[in-house]
């Protein structure tokens, strides 16, 4: 979807156009889901949190200003923080090897899912900011400038974060080998 189309949808949704609102939710659901997928322990949590992001965004859409993508990911990030605080699961998430076995067992033989799980496990050893940069850059495919906008940091800081995050992630893969 082009920026022009996206901005048009946002304007219509703000005016109460249900169709535009539905389209926006569908568009961002996948993006937010992928962002959260690599940060929580199981698919159900990722789906529930994504729904929560959509609902919170719909409620607050009238007051949205600036980049819609940055705004949505900020909501997702806030909801994730609340989620960790609520469940005190940060430690559990850091040890993702032991969790969600049922989900992966169910998809035994699905190579994609195994690779995704592996990345999920490695990411857990990175800082929150490094995780954000990796997911936004390589999973979501955002440019450095867009990531800077989403995370509210200067582009230089994002480049530095990106370098350190990639190096740290590579170390995790090397450790495994």
């Amino acid at each position: 979807m082009s920026d022009f189309e996206l901005n048009g949808l946002v304007d219509d949704a703000k005016k109460g156009d249900e169709f535009a609102l539905g389209k926006l939710c569908e568009y961002f659901y996948g993006k937010v889901y992928r962002f959260l997928f690599y940060k929580v322990s199981n698919i159900e949590d990722a789906e529930d949190l994504t729904s929560e992001v959509c609902l919170r965004a719909v409620k607050a859409l009238k007051h949205q200003n600036g980049s819609i993508e940055a705004w949505i990911f900020r909501i997702a990030s806030n909801i994730l923080t609340d989620f960790y605080r609520r469940r005190s699961v940060r430690k559990v998430v850091e040890n993702r090897n032991d969790i969600d076995e049922k989900m992966f067992a169910k998809n035994n033989g699905n190579e994609s899912l195994l690779l995704q799980r592996e990345l999920q496990q490695k990411l857990a050893h990175l800082t929150k900011e490094q995780q954000d940069v990796i997911v936004l850059k390589f999973i979501e495919g955002y440019e450095t400038k867009e990531i800077a906008d989403i995370l509210g940091k200067p582009e230089g800081a994002i480049r530095a974060l990106q370098f350190r995050a990639l190096a740290a992630l590579k170390k995790e893969y090397v450790k495994q080998d």
């Binding site: 109460g16 249900e18 990722a46 994609s112 690779l115 995704q116 999973i139 370098f163 990639l166 992630l169």
Partner: protein, 278 residues
């Protein structure tokens, strides 16, 4: 140095995403090739990693939730007065107009309360009295209002006579008519009949005495008019005494009836013969 590798990595990542081969990129930056190679390799793997897909069922569930949320509040947001006026400027104008009208009417009626015949605001005073009368629905209150108007006309007439030494016959006539209409206004309940007659008698006596006091200070032609009015008040006084006596006797002889709260008696009178004020 550190900044340089971060910038080079960023450029390489963009090119990698665009489809440039890793080897070509490494050849461009031979000094950093060793450091860049594993990072670009990892980046390429991640770029090629299939993206997690949410279940369609969950997306639909969320859309239903969003729909419910929309129907709850988003579609019809609670609007503040400011918002309503912001979106409907016509309504703002109409409301402001109504407020301005109410304010003007209240101001004018307050200012006109003490006006005298001939004043610019006097017609507003009369109009306000009419509106008050129309907006009063209880016949007893209407009768009270008639008495108030009658007293008001007397005061106005006194003011004019003090200034000019003549009698305003229209005001005098209006005073007498309002008092007459007060009695004929409508039905008055049994329990309020005697107090109302007493009040009417007091007003009538006061008007008669005031006219008598006024008589020496006016010219001869006005005196003739005053005499007729005083005579009318006198006749009314006698008639009222008679009626009040009858009411008093009737009340004292009446054995307390069985309570019938919904059948309260009503009284209505007409001035006796010769009590007209023409």
């Amino acid at each position: 140095m550190s900044n340089e590798i971060e910038n080079i990595l960023d450029i390489c990542l963009d090119e990698l995403k665009a489809g440039t081969d890793i080897e070509i990129l490494l050849m461009r930056y031979p000094d950093h090739a060793a450091e860049l190679k594993p990072l670009l390799g990892l980046a390429l793997e991640m770029n090629q990693l299939p993206k997690p897909k949410p279940s369609q069922e969950k997306i639909s569930e969320t859309l239903v939730k969003v729909g419910k949320e929309v129907s709850k509040g988003y579609r019809r947001p609670k609007r503040s007065f400011r918002d309503v006026f912001l979106w409907q400027p016509k309504l703002a104008w109409v409301t402001s107009g109504i407020f301005a009208l109410i304010l003007t009417v209240l101001t004018m009626s307050t200012l006109s309360a003490n006006s005298a015949p001939g004043d610019l605001l006097y017609p507003i005073k009369l109009a306000t009295e009419k509106v008050k009368f129309i907006l009063t629905f209880n016949s007893e209150s209407k009768a009270e209002l008639r008495l108030t108007f009658s007293e008001e006309r007397l005061n106005e007439m006194l003011d004019i006579s003090q200034q000019s030494g003549t009698i305003d016959t229209l005001l005098l006539k209006s005073m007498l008519i309002q008092a007459q209409l007060a009695l004929e206004q409508g039905e008055i309940s049994d329990e309020k009949a005697l107090p109302f007659l007493n009040k009417l008698q007091n007003v009538n006596n006061y008007q008669k005495k005031t006219l008598q006091n006024l008589r020496p200070s006016v010219d001869s032609s006005s005196r003739i008019i005053l005499d007729r009015a005083i005579e009318t008040c006198g006749m009314r006084e006698r008639w009222l005494v008679q009626i009040i006596n009858e009411e008093t006797i009737q009340n004292s002889n009446t054995v307390p009836p069985t309570p019938k709260p919904k059948q309260i008696g009503k009284k209505q009178w007409q001035w006796g013969p010769g009590c007209g004020c023409n």
